[in-house]
Amino acid sequence: MTQHASPPRDSTDKVPPSGAAPAWRGLMAHADVRTLSLLGVLAALIVIGGITKPDEFLDTRNLQLVLTQASVIGVVTVGMTFVIISGGIDLSVGAIVALASVWATTVATQEYGFAGILFTAVIVGVGCGLVNGVLIAYGAMVPFIATLAMLASARGLSLQITDGKTQIVTIPSVLDLGERDAYVLGVPPLVMVFAVVTIIGWLVLNRTTFGRRTVAVGGNPEAARLAGIDVRRQRLYLYLLSGLCCGIAAFLLIILSGSGQNTNGNLYELDAIAAAIIGGTLLTGGRGTIVGSVLGVLIFTTITNIFALNNLQSDVQQIAKGAIIVAAVLVQRRTASTT
């Protein structure tokens, strides 16, 4: 999937060749508007939740619940955001989470205790990411196809490992991390991991050469290549990163659900892509923010929470989710066409 930076004649016809300063200010405003509008949506949701279910929604326990439920998919989304910014896509995240979670909860793995589970989850995630990366970067496969193949194989393999059975985790030190007793100053350990991954993701994207190269590869792969960036190696690393995030997420999911099951991570790929997109990441690559993606995840999780608290059923939830994705993309296109 090579994309050139869209030449001006196609994308910015309506922009007069005005001086640079106003356009720059415009971009600043839009960058802010994007984040602000997401915060606005989140605030509106909090108001709605607070009005409809004041006691249940505006409650420390509920905040802990929402953030905990956001943690697993949130970690996956951070990795996905990097991949999308680089102009790629990773459809295999859900399947990798499933595979990592079942591999890490087999009877054999559980014999090695906490470390065994954590290590296995991460290694399986990274391993799958490595396969994706090699196929895409050095096998010249389209990311869509390569990760689709990984999706199928990883799901198949996790089914084979579990035989369709739920693998219960019996290691107390793992299970305890999901209990209230493990909260530090009211913060669940899962949420801490999510926060740390988010902060590291933000720093890597905005403050490191790795992040710069990611943006360059996504924004204009040809220019990146001619500027001397090793585009292929960068792509490899990006899918490794996504796999790593899936491994971490799988570990969190094991803690959360106390088990490993081949159905884990169902449709995570779509949730993560949706969150990244409403967070302002361009599907064509070259632009995106970690903050936006995380806000996207929080918005989805909060909606689910409000709907559940108000006892609305899953059909309504799905409709609302679809509407939000469409609205966000429309807003994004408007801001894109006016910058």
């Binding site: 739920t166 659900s257 559940a308 608290l309 059923q313």
Partner: protein, 345 residues
């Protein structure tokens, strides 16, 4: 039905379910067996004519479906006169049709089909019947009775009904009792039927009100998620019915994480883990309503009987019935030992 007490329900369940009790269970008990009312002998354990049974089921990506396969296989192994041709499980309708057509071409004697989608596979069921191969339709029903010789399956409505009655009896006398429901995948008709049965049962208990319902997806992950939300939404309730023991693993995890134990929980399907928890009786899970995977074993028995042109023991008819609906028994601490061996992982 409304006046069913839980005990009577249990008795019915015991009689009806146990490892293929209705058909094979009785006949295997030869000494006490009454002769069949017709001249044709009922199917029994004695080796008879060789029968090749084709078995096509969906992909076993769920504990219950996996148990279906296991039940079919181990049952077939018991009979020296049965050869089982089992296909690779598939959730893809087109692929499953192809697999069944292959079995038809192989000219198996009887087909046992658990369709990925009953409506979509009706045509191939008809095709088999027209080719002279009788079809045992397992659980997910075809569109028309012409597509099968015999249907055997669970009772989703009955599951909800029995769960509702069990909870109703337990909360009898408690005023303003609240119950909540953790349903299965809402896209499936069976989920609607289970909910309908549950609601209908609760109508008999005016003191009970269902205050919340959320649908999970039969997975541990979704069970944990939706249960956590339900617990946050309802600070006080008396009973919970969870449609499925697999997602129940997640639901129990959420309950544990929330530190709640002020209600009773009834599960669904009959997983081993649920049976064990019920036996231990140290948590909220007090009972589970069966949706027995042993129906696959019964289906093999029926198929063998068909193949050997025999009837069903314990029944007066020459032929096996056209449809058999299994009873959704409630398993609680009192009778759990009896069912322990049928629990699936």
């Amino acid at each position: 039905m409304p006046e069913f007490t839980s005990r009577r329900g249990l008795l019915f369940g015991t009689a009806a379910v146990g490892a293929g009790a209705l058909i094979a269970g009785c006949t295997s008990n030869e000494s006490k067996d009454e002769p069949a009312a017709n001249d044709q002998p009922a199917a029994d354990d004695k080796p008879g004519k060789q029968v090749t049974i084709g078995f096509a089921g969906p992909q076993a990506d769920h504990g219950w479906l996996n148990a279906i396969n296991d039940n079919a296989k181990s049952r077939a192994k018991k009979y020296s006169d049965v050869t089982l041709e089992i296909t690779e499980g598939s959730n893809d309708t087109a692929q499953q049709i192809g697999q069944i057509e292959t079995l038809i071409n192989k000219k198996v004697d009887v087909l046992v089909i658990l369709p990925a989608d009953g409506k979509a596979l009706t045509q191939v069921g008809l095709k088999a019947m027209r080719a002279g191969i009788p079809v045992i339709n397992l659980d997910r029903i075809f569109n028309t009775p012409q597509a099968y010789r015999c249907w055997i399956g669970g009772d989703n409505y009955g599951m909800g009904l029995n769960a509702g009655h069990y909870i109703g009896e337990k909360l009898k006398g408690k005023s303003d009792a609240k119950v909540i429901e953790l349903a299965g995948l809402d896209n499936l008709e069976l989920t609607k039927q289970r909910t309908q049965g549950f609601d209908d049962a609760l109508k008999n208990y005016p003191n009970i009100k269902k205050v919340a319902r959320q649908a999970a997806e039969f997975t541990v992950e979704s069970g944990q998620n939706k249960m956590a939300q339900l617990l946050q939404a309802q600070s006080k309730f008396d009973a919970l019915w969870n449609h499925d023991d697999d997602q129940g693993v997640g639901a129990l995890r959420a309950i544990e994480q929330a530190g709640r134990d002020d209600f009773l929980m009834v599960g669904g399907a009959g997983a081993l883990a649920a049976f064990q928890a019920i036996k231990k009786d140290d948590g909220v899970l007090k009972a589970t309503v069966l949706y027995p995977p042993t129906m696959a074993a019964s289906a093999i028995d029926l198929a063998r009987a068909l193949g050997q042109s025999k009837g069903v023991g314990g029944m007066a008819e020459f032929e096996i019935p056209a449809s058999i609906t299994l009873y959704s028994a409630v398993v609680d601490k009192d009778n759990v030992d009896q069912y322990m061996s049928t629990g699936f992982k």
